[in-house]
Subunit: 454 residues, 2 copies
């Protein structure tokens, strides 16, 4: 007998889960639409070449790859897997892959539809992505990203609007203790240059610095050494981050503090951009964190991340990627986006009990209609449809069981009311309505039941 488990690291969502997920997704959609962002969807499956090389070396490894089919696979015959040339294996065996994030597909779509899309294309996209990561608590191989991106402008108004929208979503869901940290990839580049890290080692160094939160400055120093960064550079980086790594908030005199710590390292232009984001998004709880790195390799400007105290990872993150769309089209088009992690939000909301009661305690229907006898089945079906016409959610008991068993079943699925249409009720045009919470039972005119239930 085959296993009944879902695939490793993936999950089935039963009705109570879906209702919570759809509540959060509903709030996200409504807020993004109120900012003029429009919906977009892309296929789960992309050509392998679309995804490879966009997420760094680790990303390449974690992409789920799809086996070629029929003729295409047969043409690969004669090639032996024992020749362990990985890139050749991939090219021989696979041509498609599962979506790894929503940003690279967006870049492809923008390049593909440049003439049909508005100059400033603002889109949101809420779809699953797949990563062949080792499953762990809170880390899944299929998870939803809720992305919002603005294409076509390099103004910091874009960063500010995105952060304001994301803040509004979190507020609407009841989060009031989140912090948005921002930085600019240029700040990190300037710091790395100052510490004497060669250009080609920058992305490797960023992967280490990205772990500052998890492993602390000593851990980062060790990783830098492991990755071949000289001890001199590593020491210098640690010193710079010790001086600048304190988080600067809007209340403090940002410019002066940044200037005193970063003026010799970072250009005025970069500092001014960060200052603009703070000014334009003045209501969002933003702080500058010069050590914030973000893992993905396609970011070119502002980067941002949202945290809450009781979650180890982030609720979401994003940044500016002015170079990515140009990898797919002739034109270099500026872009900036943010991705909220649905699962992360749900974990915190579940632990804190943040769901409204109508979501947390939802029922499959407002009322259950019973079946009295073989002869009256059609009448029960008809009555159920009358209630549905009036906007009531009705479940019909599907079998000719004893009435007591039907009522017991209604109780087990927590339906608040039960309707009985016996022979006497049918003869008089009545229905007996039972309130499952109080046990109270009343026989009323059939055409008044819907109003009563409302």
């Amino acid at each position: 007998m085959v296993s009944t488990n879902p695939a490793r690291g993936m999950r089935d969502f039963l009705p109570a889960d879906i209702r919570k997920r759809e509540y959060v997704i509903g709030v996200i959609k409504e807020v993004y639409e109120s900012y003029g962002f429009e919906p977009l969807e892309t296929p789960a499956v992309e050509n392998l070449e679309t995804l490879m090389g966009k997420y760094g070396e680790e990303g390449n490894q974690l992409i789920f790859k799809i086996l070629k089919r029929g003729e295409k696979l047969v043409q690969s015959a004669g090639f032996s897997l024992s020749e362990r040339d990985e890139s050749r294996t991939l090219n021989e065996l696979t041509d498609l892959a599962l979506r790894y994030d929503l940003t690279v597909p967006l870049a492809r779509v923008v390049a593909d539809n440049r003439n049909e899309l508005p100059k400033f294309f603002k889109r949101y996209q809420i779809q699953p992505v797949w990563r062949a990561d080792r499953p762990a608590r809170g880390r899944f191989r299929e998870f939803y990203q809720c992305d919002v991106d603005a294409i076509g402008s390099d103004s910091m108004i874009v960063e500010a609007e995105i952060l304001t929208a994301v803040s509004r979503i979190l507020n609407r869901l009841g989060f009031n203790d989140f912090t948005i940290r921002i930085n600019d990839r240029q700040v990190l580049t300037d710091i790395l240059d100052t510490a004497g890290v060669a250009d080609e080692m920058h992305s490797i160094a960023l992967v280490a610095i990205d772990k500052m939160d998890k492993i602390g400055p000593a851990g980062v120093a060790k990783e830098l050494a492991d990755r071949g960064i000289s001890e001199k550079s590593s020491t210098m980086l640690t010193e710079i981050f010790a001086k600048t790594g304190e988080i600067l908030d809007q209340e403090g005199d940002i410019n002066r503090t940044i200037v005193s710590n970063l003026i010799n390292i970072v250009s005025n232009e970069t500092l001014s951009k960060l200052g603009q984001i703070l000014k334009f998004a003045s209501k969002a709880p933003i702080v500058i964190d010069p050590s914030l790195a973000r893992g993905l390799s396609y970011y070119t400007g502002a980067i941002m991340e949202i945290n809450v105290p009781d979650l180890a990872g982030s609720l979401g993150g994003g940044g500016r990627y002015d170079g990515l769309i140009g990898m797919f089209g002739k034109e270099q088009i500026p872009a900036c986006g943010f991705s909220l992690g649905l699962e992360r939000m749900l974990v915190v909301m579940e632990e804190r009990g943040m769901f409204p009661p109508e979501i947390a305690e939802s029922t499959p229907a407002d009322v259950l209609v019973t079946i009295w006898s073989e002869e009256t089945i059609s009448e029960s079906l008809k009555f159920a449809n009358e209630l549905r016409d009036a906007g009531i959610r009705v479940t019909l008991y599907p079998e000719l069981d004893k009435l007591g068993k039907q009522i017991k079943y209604a109780d087990s699925i927590k339906v608040p009311f039960v309707c009985v249409l016996g022979e006497s009720e049918l003869a008089d045009g009545n229905v007996t309505l039972k309130n499952m919470a109080t046990g109270e039972q009343k026989t009323i005119a059939r055409n008044l039941v819907a109003a009563k239930l409302k």
Copy 2:
């Protein structure tokens, strides 16, 4: 430069597409919920063994299979693809696959969660499925199914409720010329037995009979011969279908007509079941078609299909599958379901112009707020958020362009109103509101704009 096309047979959905899709999905959800069906979602990826062998030989071929990863793939080293043993190739190289339909995953979930789910579990599920079919007009490799299934009862009340719910959806969307054809697998089994087709050839014969619509009786006879059915059996089948193949509707005296044609072939029990469906779902436009076969191999009882005159294929289909859940669990649990094809419905609705105007002519926002100068950016952002607080969808122009250019852009994205906050407006607490359709322009108090726009 990499291609910007989506993968072969798959599609990107731009905002106007998504709005139409979400409108249809919204109606489907609302109706299914009004019948007491609850939402369920399963992963896109299933263990390969969960899917293999459930859809017949053709199905096995069309399943997208995912390459093993890392260590698992390395362990396959030494096996050469030139040994063309297909099942071995698959076992060596793949362990996962993309969902092929929503019914087999449901059966797995029910077997896996039997104790948490109600005895009569009624669920709907609206998710994409993937099939490595040859792409053609209207045939895609990624498409949405809108499934509704009732688990746990073998009563025909279930078939009737499902068909009533599906009819209600189609009515709500504006379809008024669809026909529901129903049959029972037992009718076909009895006919095949009568024609002397051996048990082990039944499923092969059904695949041929399933094409009656497309290739006619002569085509079916040829396919039967090609598949090794004796000429005698084939002739007899053609004769039986010529006698019984006329579609029987509710208006005629069904029992008498069926009896006269099928009484010597089909048991009273099977005929009575079909009669019950017609009686219980008396408002749905149902006809009995004894030649309706349906392609999938897991059906055991009633089968059903919906057609409209201007579409070659069906809008959807379904049936009873009392044996499928038992393939995953200890218990044999009766079940019946129906699947509406989202893409099929959309094609017909598009051709017939069935979308309501607010969906067909939707805009990215209700109003565009312009930017006046560097100094007033924060005020424009603030004002945009005031409107959003009042429930207005606002897009903010993201750059410091000339006002004329900003208004021209608003026109290009068909936003109906533009708000201008110049220095004089800001000083007086006013906003200039431009109606893009009439060109009319009015300066009004800032706090009255939201009410005006509503």
